[in-house]
């Protein structure tokens, strides 16, 4: 039976010949041509493939697509139409990306954390981001960007005086 799930806010039904075992990563990239989600290791070591499943950060490389049926999947493309999510803005303002390859996954991990912890400590960041490798070593700027995004969101929430 064809698999249906919510992808970036829209209902998505896969062609019926897509194997239910195929990892979500490859469904996104090779079947649906959503290439913002990246392949780094295929073994849940690096976090390049991180997406949200019902709001939680998961590694799509180890998630059979059958297991997302009926659930909500958000990829980097679904975070905002124009890179305007506070985390994306903070990333741009802190000039985080170098090669950029890991950054979709980093941003998805960070957004999932911030949705639960709006004002994370450094220890929270260490923990939430521990599954994401950046070979370009942008960690220090990622940390700053997460704090900046948290501050931006807090400022936005303050009722106007």
């Amino acid at each position: 039976m064809a698999i249906t799930f919510t992808l970036n806010g829209k209902s998505q039904t896969l062609p019926s010949d897509v194997s239910p075992e195929m990892p979500l990563l490859w469904v996104l990239r090779d079947v649906l041509n959503l290439t913002g989600t990246k392949f780094g290791c295929g073994m849940a070591f690096c976090g390049a493939c991180t997406v949200h499943l019902n709001g939680d950060a998961i590694r799509s490389c180890m998630t059979p697509v059958s297991s997302v049926a009926g659930k909500r999947v958000t990829t980097i493309e679904g975070l905002s139409p124009d890179a305007s999510h506070p985390v994306q803005r903070a990333w741009i303002e802190e000039d985080v990306p170098q090669c950029g390859y890991c950054q979709s996954g980093q941003i998805m991990s960070a957004t999932a954390m911030l949705a639960k912890k709006s004002n994370p400590t450094d220890a929270d960041i260490d923990e939430a981001m521990s599954g994401n490798i950046c070979r370009c070593g942008t960690y220090q700027r990622i940390r700053k960007a997460i704090h900046r995004a948290a501050a931006m969101s807090a400022a936005a929430k303050k009722p106007a005086a």
């Binding site: 090779d30 990306p97 390859y101």
Partner: protein
């Protein structure tokens, strides 16, 4: 010693620029230098409005980038140089990747050379365009040229208060005679408005939204995804295979065998499985039944290699350098020390695994390649397809890291072979395991050091023996063994004065592929020199910073021993400058909390000067780095924040090889396979890093790599300061800390 035969990367990049065919013969450098010169003389400057600056009538400006962006920021820094000379409004600038055309662009990207090597050419190109625009305006107004000047994307006539935008002038300007690039006036650097300012990366938005397209994101209608089964033993081949089960995997379309290709490409060959998607291709590969002929290297191991190195070190090597008589000075000295330093192979482990997409048609080919050497990719595809290079269109894509790995053309060769075999567009995709096990690794090396101090505490002798799996030996065709000064870098011209200075080398033979890894020989040479000088300081009982400054002596310039013709000399004043600045910013003389140690290292590489002070201790049996304070002098920093980013990055890359895993060999193959057994630094262990950039007015020099060689010695020197334990082999092992 014949400097003409030492193959360092700088020379390689240049020869690479003449095309892949020249690659192998390129090692006979004297010929190539002549050929280069002849070509340079023939080369007429192209019209800058075709080659570098596209200006629309609507005033939109697109700057064309001939180098490859792999994270190092050339996509921003190089356009800044053009925009500066053109007096453009930076906010309106767009950038596009140049088509592969070696006649115009010097495409090769590596050796920390993009900004340094493009600085003058791009300034000249930008100036030529500016001068043409000014001339066009003067003619339009019928005024004396000198009364016009470029400003903010247009030409201004001050007295008349007239202003014409470049968009209004470009059509006339592009038809004017092209000024001589050698004499075109350049902007006075005091007037720089863009160069030297912290400038956000132009690609940050695309890289924060998922929109940035890397090689692996290339999509061509009708394409197939291929993964290749390669012999895990280096140099092995397919003996026989059965594809029946692989072909039975749903979505698998074809299975083809490809031959290994030797020097120049160094591919393993193997069996390619092509499918409608990457996952089916990997499953198909897993279902292949292959018998390997493991070839001549099946007995090689890290242990056997170390054994050979120890053996080599017990005998004299080929003499790389010999000043005075180090052996006699050592024999007569009352204060001498000896140490052995060891390094394993190191992988590049770019975040984006190797991949290449090629479509070969009868009348032409097109390829999407994440490459540091597009012209080489072009010639490889031309060779396989038997098409003339100009019929091969190579799109250089963004790269998920390069670090030297993407200078190779092995993955391009494979993709071309598979595409040729099936006649369809094909992406050859490497899995992480493929990437970890079929890299071109940083050589493994073994160093024996001897040093002596005289009664005044000056250096009486410095002797350095190295045995390594040299890079050059792999690429050299005739198999001769040489005194490889390219394996030493600055270790062959240390800044510390010693009248008796001897450097020896013996090749360690290996079947493991090697090539340029971030900072190349400096990654090990920097560690050896800056650790050993620290050991000497301790032996002398002198503060390590004080000792280094003293040993450098008077300010002087030391010729680049490994490349006297082209390398810039090491200026000890600048090296002292970064050492002192890092020490000052780190509070070198201030006491630290108990248990914490502070270490320093300073080094010269890629014509740049870096120093770092590290604060570290041992926690739970592991080295923990808390703080890094860098000072760097890379000449005029085009984008200072970009410089800081590169140094922060190199620090983590260096810490990875220093504190985490090694590539080890057993049975002729790599034992590690993925990030589970080759771990890398993560967020929690990232030290607080400060980078202080010297705002020099010297010509810009490299910065993608120079941050690396100093970090491991500074950290290990800090561990010594904290614990009294000397770390002499990397990565650090628990037993060496106990």
């Amino acid at each position: 010693m014949s400097p003409g035969l030492s193959v360092n990367r700088r020379e390689f990049l240049k020869t690479g620029a003449t095309g892949g065919a020249a690659l192998v013969i390129g090692f006979y450098l004297s010929d190539v230098r002549l050929a280069d010169q002849a070509r340079d003389q023939e080369k007429k400057p192209p019209n800058p409005f075709d080659a570098w600056v596209h200006i629309g009538k609507d005033n939109r400006v697109t700057l064309i980038l001939g180098k490859s962006e792999m994270g190092q920021g050339v996509y921003t820094a190089l356009p800044m140089i053009l925009a500066e000379e053109l007096s453009l409004d930076w906010r309106k600038v767009k950038v596009e990747q140049a088509p592969t055309n070696p006649a115009i662009y010097d495409h090769g990207t590596g050796g920390s050379g993009s900004v340094a090597g493009s600085w003058l050419p791009l300034r000249r190109a930008g100036s030529a365009a500016r001068e043409m625009l000014i001339t066009a305006a003067a003619q339009r107004w019928n005024v004396v040229r000198d009364t016009c000047k470029a400003q903010n994307g247009g030409v201004l006539h001050g007295a008349r208060k007239d202003f014409l935008t470049y968009g209004e002038l470009v059509e006339d300007a592009s038809k004017l005679p092209i000024p001589d690039f050698n004499t075109v006036p350049l902007k006075n650097s005091d007037d720089f408005a863009i160069v030297g300012k912290d400038t956000p990366r132009l690609d940050a938005r695309a890289k924060s939204s998922g929109a940035a397209k890397f090689g692996i994101d290339s999509r061509v209608p009708g394409m197939l995804y291929a993964v290749i089964a390669r012999c895990p033993v280096f140099g092995g081949k397919v003996a026989k295979f059965d594809a029946t089960k692989a072909k039975a995997v749903p979505d698998v379309r074809e299975v083809v065998q490809i031959e290994s290709v030797g020097p120049g490409a160094f591919t393993a060959g193997g069996v390619a499985v092509l499918a409608d998607n990457s996952w089916a291709a990997t499953r198909g590969r897993a279902a292949l039944e292959i018998t390997w002929d493991e070839g001549p290297n099946a007995n090689e191991s890290s242990d056997s290699l170390r054994h050979d190195c120890v053996e080599n070190a017990s005998k004299p090597g080929k003499v790389v350098r010999n000043d005075g008589d180090a052996d006699a000075a050592l024999a007569s000295s009352s204060k001498k020390i000896e140490a052995v330093y060891e390094f394993p192979f190191a992988p590049h482990a770019t975040m984006e695994p190797m991949n290449c997409t090629v479509h070969i048609r009868p009348d032409g080919a097109e390829a999407w390649v994440p490459t540091q050497g597009p012209q080489w990719a072009q010639s490889v595809i031309a060779g396989v397809s038997k098409l003339p290079p100009e019929k091969v269109v190579v799109h250089t894509t963004l790269m998920g890291g390069g670090f030297g790995r993407r200078y190779q053309a092995d993955f391009v060769m494979e993709a071309a072979q598979v595409a040729k075999a099936v006649g369809k567009p094909v992406m050859v995709l490497w899995t992480r395991e493929d990437d970890m096990q079929h890299d071109f690794y940083r050589p493994a090396s073994y160093h024996r050091m001897w040093g002596a101090l005289d009664a005044q505490g000056n250096l009486a002798a410095w002797k350095h023996f190295q045995s390594s799996t040299s890079i050059a030996a792999m690429w050299r065709q005739n198999g001769t063994e040489q005194a490889e000064n390219g394996e030493f870098g600055t270790a062959a011209f240390i800044p510390y004065k010693s009248a008796n200075y001897r450097v020896e080398y013996t090749l360690a033979k290996s079947g493991v592929p090697r090539a340029w890894w971030r900072s190349v020989e400096h990654s090990t040479s920097g560690f050896v020199v800056e650790s050993f000088v620290d050991e000497l300081a301790a032996a002398a009982g002198v503060d390590p910073l004080e000792f280094r400054l003293r040993l450098m002596g008077d300010d002087r310039k030391i010729e680049d021993f490994t490349n006297p013709k082209e390398g810039k000399p090491l200026d000890t004043a600048r090296l002292k400058g970064v050492l002192k600045l890092a020490a000052e910013k780190a509070g070198w003389s201030k006491p630290l909390p108990k248990g914490l140690g502070r270490g320093i290292a300073g080094y010269f590489s890629f014509d740049s000067y870096t120093a770092v002070v590290a604060e570290a201790n041992i926690m739970d049996g592991k080295v923990r780095v808390h703080r890094l304070v860098y000072a760097v002098d890379c000449g005029r920093p085009v984008n200072p924040d970009g410089v800081r980013a590169q140094v922060e990055s190199a620090a983590i890359y260096g810490l990875s090889a220093a504190l985490h895993d090694a590539i080890t060999i057993k049975g002729g193959r790599v034992e590690q396979s993925n990030f589970g057994d080759y771990e890398m630094p993560r967020m929690a262990e990232t030290p607080k890093t400060e980078v202080h950039v010297i705002m020099s007015k010297e010509e810009p020099t490299g910065i993608g790599e120079p941050g690396l060689p100093v970090v491991a010695p500074a950290v290990c020197n800090a561990i010594f300061a904290a614990t009294g334990k000397r770390i002499r082999r990397l990565p650090v092992r628990q037993e060496d800390l106990a």
